[in-house]
Symmetry: C2
Subunit: 679 residues, 2 copies
């Protein structure tokens, strides 16, 4: 059976689709009508106001300049032109650090690939077991290039062990350098940042309920007592989840109302109708515009009632607060120390920046969080465990004869389709090569094409957009989806490290992926994505840790493999590797991780002193006053019908001041900010 040819077919299909995506992208991106899809970042940064066009009429929508069609890869130099520091300035440190993951991939795997291809493949090919053994067992040509081809107990395995050592040391060296580098970039970035509210703020969770005291009073008392020199005030967190749900519901209804009104404007002869029952699917027909208006006014009442309830009910204030300090030093001290004798109360940590707060989750108590973590880890475990059952089933069908026997009706299908899929599963390296071509080559090429935003934008443009502002709103460039991208990206590290010694022929596929993905994401970061918030590369310890785990898995796999190849005497020699790797990880953790988790007092003090010298009259209280205002209040601010009154509690006496700006002119010792709203 000619597996290499099958792999060739798969390669052909995938390279063709990748090529097609790139050509399509090259054509679509130069159409003025798509400008907002492929260059939204420039609209956000103010680099562009409208598509660059020459002429008018059709050429406002379609590019008629034929010469620009000739070079379909000319986005690549553009993607490479920007320097790293320009990228940090343009898109933030998170994006720049994200790109470094691909660089690491290249740094690790280029030398490994060269060594593996030059040394291991000749060693494996000349091993020659598979040429001689029983022909009944099928081996692919790929396997002749792999470690399977070396006869059991051969002395050649010493070369594989040597390579495992070299690869491990090289990977760890690159990881160390990069961790150092990213930690430096982070510290530099943080140091060069302007004053930010989160530098002065600590989030405190699990505030204990003391009978006879409100949460705010407890917080005030606790921090005035334990941080007397630096505490300024705090901002309460409200449990406004029900309120937020109502607001979202209202927005949805508003959308339907807008849609129906638009429909009516376009066809004034026919008033749109809807059904009043469940999901608009059943019930009697009613006038849509009136129906939605009525529903919205009902909701408005509920929202107003709910708002009153939140503001009046002391139970709506959650045992969580944002506590602000008069200096970075004071906040750094509070964030890093244990406050209470009971280690589950008064938990403090750095406040994330305001846009990065997930308000709905703030009120979850400590025990509940722990139990949730337990449930999730049990579920993940069971998922992985039971996932073995379908895998084992598929494995048992993995030769085509078996499949034909189980499902004879599939015979015609099994014989039109190339045998690739059926054989790819047992020969896992082949399977993963195909996977890399599909997900890593064609998938990445489709990423740059942005097919989904393209379709959605044009649909919105056709039906919803009325003004230029609507058009801006219609294009949400989104941001890189770290929670999804990072794990799938790290699968490539796992594959590369596991197969580096076992089936080195897989490595070039991975190299192509890293190079292509690096170019594509660099282009996307420059032209498309707009990071919502900035963590200053705080995710790097996870990236590092996962590559280390991949390396451990690779080492354990090799130990297992060699013991089945009757080279078990190599085990002690190889077990040194995981021990060393774990030690390396611990070393890196203590060496670099504090830079990502803690804020050194030296740095805090330095910036405090600098700031006091350069801006002696800075009113920090005013600056911090509504930094961590619950979004519930922002939604009121937007609503111009609401009249906002700010009431400041100063100790026990209550003063009403007409505007927030006045607050900043006086500076009494300790403030609690309460906002009250009167319709």
């Amino acid at each position: 059976m000619a597996t290499v040819e099958d792999l060739g077919v798969s390669a052909f299909i995938n390279i063709l689709s990748a090529f097609a995506f790139l050509v399509l992208f090259a054509v679509l991106r130069i159409q003025p009508i798509n400008d907002r899809i492929y260059f939204p970042k420039w609209y956000i940064t103010g680099g562009r106001k409208s598509p660059v066009v020459c002429g008018c009429g059709v050429s406002r929508f379609v590019n008629l300049n034929l010469s620009t069609y000739l070079t379909f890869l000319n986005w690549i130099p553009g993607a490479l032109r920007m320097s790293e520091s320009e990228i940090i300035h343009h898109a933030g440190l998170d994006s720049a650090v994200y790109l470094r993951i691909y660089i690491i991939g290249l740094k690790i795997f280029v030398p490994i690939t060269v060594l593996a291809l030059l040394i291991l493949i000749p060693v494996n090919v000349s091993g020659g077991t598979l040429l001689n053994i029983n022909r009944n067992i099928m081996f692919s040509d790929i396997d002749k290039l792999s470690i399977s081809n070396v006869s059991n107990g051969s002395q050649r395995f010493w070369i594989h062990i040597l390579m495992a050592y070299l690869f491990t040391l090289w990977t760890l060296y690159v990881l160390y350098k990069e961790y150092d580098n990213v930690a430096f970039m982070r510290l530099h970035f943080l140091a060069s940042q302007h004053r930010r509210v989160d530098q002065f703020t600590v989030v405190v969770r699990n505030v204990p309920h003391v009978s006879g005291h409100s949460i705010s009073e407890s917080i005030e008392q606790f921090f005035q007592r334990n941080h007397p020199d630096h505490y300024i005030g705090h901002q309460a967190v409200y449990n406004a989840n029900r309120f937020a749900r109502l607001v979202r519901q209202k927005e949805r209804l508003q959308n339907w109302l807008d849609y129906n009104q638009l429909k009516y404007e376009r066809h004034p002869d026919k008033r749109p109708t809807t059904k009043g029952g469940f999901l608009g699917l059943c019930g009697e027909k009613v006038d849509a515009i009136n129906y939605y208006r009525e529903k919205i006014s009902e909701l408005d009442e509920k929202i107003s009632y709910e708002r009153q309830r939140i503001l009046k009910d002391p139970k709506a204030i959650m045992p969580v607060a944002f506590v602000t300090f008069d200096s970075r030093w004071g906040a750094a001290v509070c964030a890093q120390t244990q406050q209470s004798k009971n280690p589950t109360q008064w938990l403090t940590k750095w406040a994330p920046e305001p846009r990065d707060v997930y308000w709905e989750n703030l009120p979850i108590p400590f025990v509940s969080l722990s139990i949730r973590r337990l449930l999730i880890s049990i579920l993940v475990f069971l998922l992985v465990f039971f996932y073995m059952i379908p895998i084992a089933f598929v494995q048992s069908l993995a030769n085509l004869e078996g499949l034909e026997r189980v499902a004879p009706f599939l015979r015609p299908v099994i014989e039109t389709i190339p045998a690739t899929i059926g054989v790819a599963i047992p020969m896992k390296a082949t399977f993963f090569m195909t996977y890399i071509m599909l997900d890593g080559w064609a998938g990445i090429a489709s990423e740059i094409l942005r097919l989904k935003p393209l379709v959605i934008y044009h649909l919105k443009n056709m039906f919803i957009v009325k003004t230029e502002r609507d058009r801006e709103k219609a294009m949400d460039p989104g941001s890189i989806d770290f929670p999804e991208n990072l794990p799938s990206l790290q699968l490539y590290f796992l594959l590369g490290l596991v197969y580096a010694v076992v089936t080195p022929v897989l490595l070039p596929f991975i190299l192509v992926f890293f190079a292509l993905a690096f170019l594509v994401y660099r282009h996307q970061i420059i032209n498309v994505y707009n990071q919502e918030y900035e963590s200053a590369g705080a995710f790097w310890p996870f990236v590092h840790g996962r590559i280390v785990v991949s390396l451990l898995i690779a080492q354990l796999t090799l130990i297992g493999l060699l013991s089945t190849k009757k080279a078990a005497n190599s085990t002690p020699l190889l077990t040194v590797l995981p021990v060393f790797t774990i030690w390396f990880h611990r070393y890196c953790k203590s060496r670099f991780e504090p830079a990502f988790r803690k804020y050194p007092l030296e740095e805090a003090m330095e910036r405090d002193i600098m700031e006091r010298e350069s801006e002696p009259n800075l009113n920090l209280k005013a600056y911090l006053a509504d930094a961590y205002l619950h979004p519930i209040f922002h939604s009121f601010d937007d609503d111009e019908e609401e009249k906002v009154e700010v009431r400041v509690d100063k100790g026990q006496s209550h003063l009403s001041s007409p505007s927030r700006s006045e607050m900043s002119t006086e500076s009494p010792p300790h403030y609690v900010y309460h906002y009250e709203f009167e319709p």
Copy 2:
């Protein structure tokens, strides 16, 4: 082969020796001559000045009151009479917490033993496989009570699984309660302690070398800048290892000199001689007293030169220091926060109490520490790994026929000796039962007898003791050797948890151990041991962690065992247990561990405020001045020939003040204490 009988023989031997030790102890302890061996703690606390005797003459040394010989177990009520809080007061929290480990053993294993004996043994016995299968394989009678007796794939395993769940839940419940309890005891103990220097002190390691600045200047500058409101001063650490070696050498020679002088006093007719060469074994004969006097005076010169070198050489000051603060709050903040941008520099943590400082190890740098840890973990790994080779070899010899074949010359030995040892190894439960009887029963009984101190004390009494003060010195009661006792103690938890489901008949042996050891150590703590320093139970997280690991090993063993018993479908059900156990461990870690590692600011502030109110005129600077004086200076203090002058560096100006007490009357902002010694 009658293994139960062999076990009986072993039990007989061990119980007999345990009994013999206890009787011997009962006789020896009531002899006035041994009073200092069996009740040294009371001499230290001042509870006794001399043995309680009635009469004189022989009765000063030997107890002639025959009625006291009758009750050889009457130490037990005495050991139980003291309450826990009295023990804390009498012997410190460490000792009280150490005793709680045995209590935990009883709490965990009493209910488990009852359940296992009542339910599992009947289930196993009626399983009845081992009665039917091939007689060529030898099974002991003990195995008929164990899980081995249940036939493969039997439904009875559900009962074992249920028991595994019950045992796990019960163990975790007890562990949780105890952690809570010990954490509370610790907090209570710390809160009730009087002012201690370590509450105000932080040890800082890895102070960076700045060219043009001495270590002391760097430290001064750094803490004045970053902790301006709370920093008082610091005490340098000198690399005096060579000096300490010389002093030890001198002490050894002094001992020889004393010995020879004593010899000469007793036999004035014969002057003692020694040989001048290597170790006193070769070379020509010389007069011993003159020889040692000469050697000592040579050493004195060397010591004096070395002392000068240390005090003059700035390189002798290590990049480590004890930094003191003006409040517990200031020290708590400094100990818990990251100081420097480089996370490997300016590492701070709580200073241990002065007696607990291991001065020789303080100067080891961060990188060197990490590498040492790596080397040790590799060595431990290799030790464990290669330990399998002799074990496997012994296992292969584990039936007597095999042993006879390999080593025919052993035949007579194998046939004179009972077959216990040869059979005990493969039947591991039987082996461990024997082990428990030997180490856990007879071993613990020998602990109370204190044979080694008994012999040494009497030898010293015979040869060295001249005055009453010498007699006091001759009896060093020692302290409980935690580094040795804790791991061997935890082996019993491992055995109990692993065999609880597998071979429940082992459990009563463990119960006897825990009960006996509890009584013996309670007696020893009350009457004998004198803890050198007090960590306030800081070792508890390790005890907890190791019992959890034992539980995990027990669970994994059961999973493996049941899968070989063709009950592999139970695996998913059982794997929930380790996941839950790991989660439990993490929960406990975050819930309780901070109480053992950190000093909450709330507590620090509370005590600071209380102290300021009760002792407004307290001079903390004087109190802290020489708390962490390097032992090198203590040895000078002892030597009354040295004239000590204290020089205080106040900022840049140097004042000489004649005595330390004067220092405390003035209180300038920041002090560095240097001590200079002029012979």
